[in-house]
């Protein structure tokens, strides 16, 4: 470990995002405040106003413009940052697609929240799911320290010469955005040192005023296909890159998260639970309790959602006797939750075992210890050949 000990204090998830984003030295920032993300925009604005970060804050009238500003600045070669949530993410939807198409390495924090209905000022991953095929890299974190550390890694990933893609870091509204936890904030020189390898890479193409340079996915026919194929290939390369950056981060800062997925007590596990975000933290406590009661259960925390960590998941889950996936969102038109549906696409490689889908934690509802305990018990029963329900909406059965 090379990093100096950073300051440890009790910090809100949103404050961690703003503080660490500033340490990554973005040059252009454009955010529009939206609950429960508002503190990110407010905090980073005050950091710039206090003269602690030399960046241009572009005041925008909405999220659509925020993303347009970030894309434009990014294409001109700047490091950019924005944050949003829920409807804010949806309101920038067309520009999200554009930003990905332009391969602009924008980094965005998204505070996960339900989308439909103004009363859904509440936690849920439906906003993330609504943008899953936008061409962005999507990462989900579990706690405030992981917000801090992953955000730094997001810049290494987005701006890597072999990747050059926008990255969205997701964390649960309320359960993390408003969570106050002790967090170690890395010191500036260590963040600089960790991001320094980007400076040694070939310079990515930028748009220069007056020069005849093209950008974007505007090619006709085969030009478009080629651009899409290159984008798709970069997404595929991002999987290994996430693992490499995570390992390097661990070597430097002494904290690492498993890269694409984190495996918790999976080595000798007979059954597995797949979860993401803050629920994964709770699941670790449940898994310890269930193991004490004799159930050999492990957790796979899905950190990278796009690209989907196909190879790592197969490796982790192959040979398990039953698997359950807890989704904090809905897949309309499919029977199972979105993450479960995707996992089922790997079933032929994982093995012909029961895969149970659970929907929980919608609209601020809690993914509680008894809920996850129930998931473990039902998964264990399914592994023993007992009858099981393949899709369960936990709040409806309470």
């Amino acid at each position: 470990m090379k990093a100096k000990k950073g300051q440890v204090s009790v910090m809100m998830g949103n404050a961690v995002t703003a503080t660490v984003a500033a340490l990554c030295r973005p040059e252009v920032i454009a955010c529009y405040p939206i609950t429960p993300q508002s503190e990110v925009a407010e905090t980073i604005s005050s950091i710039v106003a206090d003269g602690k970060l030399d960046a241009d804050i572009v005041e925008v009238e909405g999220e659509n413009s925020a993303m347009n500003v970030c894309r434009g600045a990014s294409l001109a070669g700047a490091r950019t940052f924005t944050a949003t949530s829920s409807y804010g993410l949806v309101y920038m939807y067309d520009t999200i697609l554009e930003t990905a198409g332009f391969r602009a390495p924008v980094v965005m924090a998204n505070v996960n929240r339900e989308t439909p209905g103004i009363h859904a000022v509440s936690s849920g991953q439906q906003d993330l799911i609504s943008t899953r095929d936008s061409g962005w890299i999507q990462i989900i974190v579990e706690n405030n320290q992981e917000i801090a550390d992953q955000l730094i890694m997001c810049y290494r990933l987005a701006e890597d010469y072999d990747i050059q893609l926008p990255v969205m870091m997701n964390y649960d509204g309320y359960y993390l955005s408003y969570l106050n936890e002790e967090v170690e904030i890395p010191v500036q020189e260590d963040v600089d040192a960790f991001l320094a390898p980007l400076k040694k890479q070939p310079k990515r193409p930028v748009i220069v005023p007056g020069a005849a340079t093209g950008a974007g996915t505007h090619g006709m026919e085969m030009g478009y296909v080629e651009a899409r194929y290159k984008h798709w290939s970069a997404m595929d390369r991002a999987k290994k890159k996430v693992d490499e950056i995570d390992k390097e981060f661990g070597d430097y800062f002494g904290r690492s998260y498993g890269g694409q997925i984190e495996e918790y007590k999976m080595d000798d596990a007979e059954i597995a639970i797949v979860a993401s975000g803050s629920a994964a933290g709770t699941a670790k406590d449940v898994i310890d309790d269930k193991r004490a009661a004799g159930i050999k259960v492990g957790l796979v925390k899905l950190r990278l959602f796009r690209p989907f960590p196909e190879e790592r998941l197969i490796q982790a889950l192959k040979g398990k006797k039953a698997i359950s996936v807890i989704d904090r969102s809905i897949c309309f038109g499919w029977k199972y939750g979105p993450m479960c549906t995707e996992l089922k696409a790997l079933a032929s490689s994982i093995g012909n075992v029961p895969i149970l889908s659970y929907i929980d934690g919608l609209a601020n509802l809690d993914i509680t210890i008894p809920h996850i305990g129930r998931v473990v018990d039902e998964t264990a029963a399914a592994a023993e050949g007992k009858a099981y329900q393949d899709i369960t909406w936990i709040p409806l059965e309470e």
Binding site: H119, E181, E182
Partner: protein, 182 residues
């Protein structure tokens, strides 16, 4: 792990109290986590806030259903039907009240803590923001942290005259608390 649940109304400082308590416990070397749960931000609406502390890192991210202590900042919330649901045995009840006596409201509660935090806050701060006074009373009644740790954590949140007033309010909460054993 100890779990504390705050019940207040928007504007009374329940959310801030929960966070200040986490900072004070961090001073004592504990691992801490705290968060509020509410719908829209608005003054006067019921607010719940949670604080956990432990000697080991806290991974659980749920709301608190089985508290060791509940702190009721607004006595108007005593009629909440679920206020005492799920309490751990021998738990502590801290109430902002001018009363000096109180009947045991639930058999799981074996310690009652009465403090006129509103009265003290109005005298010391000039407004009904009773949160720092309640933290002083919390330290005195539970012994889970020292008054000194509470006082050391406040400058993270407040400064100048308002800090001095809140320090006084917390000290008075510590000294003027009534502890009842049920």
């Amino acid at each position: 792990m100890k779990e504390i649940r705050f019940h207040g109304r928007g504007g009374q400082g329940a959310v801030m109290a929960a966070k200040m308590l986490a900072s004070a416990l961090l001073v004592e070397g504990k691992h801490v986590a705290s968060f509020p749960m509410y719908g829209f931000e608005r003054r006067g609406a019921p607010v719940v806030a949670f604080t956990r502390f432990d000697d080991k890192p806290i991974r659980v991210k749920t709301q608190i259903y089985n508290p060791d202590c509940i702190i009721v900042i607004d006595p108007g919330l005593l009629t909440l039907p679920t206020l005492f649901t799920g309490l751990k045995p021998n738990s502590t009840f801290i109430l902002n009240t001018a009363k000096k006596e109180y009947k045991q409201p639930d058999k799981a509660l074996t310690t009652g803590v009465l403090i006129n935090a509103t009265g003290i806050a109005v005298e010391e701060i000039g407004r009904d923001i009773p949160n720092t006074c309640l933290l002083g009373a919390f330290a005195a009644a539970t012994g889970w942290l020292t008054l000194d740790s509470v006082l050391k954590s406040l400058p993270e949140y407040l400064s100048g005259d308002i800090l001095q007033r809140n320090l006084k309010s917390a000290e008075r909460g510590y000294k003027e608390v009534e502890v009842i054993k049920w």
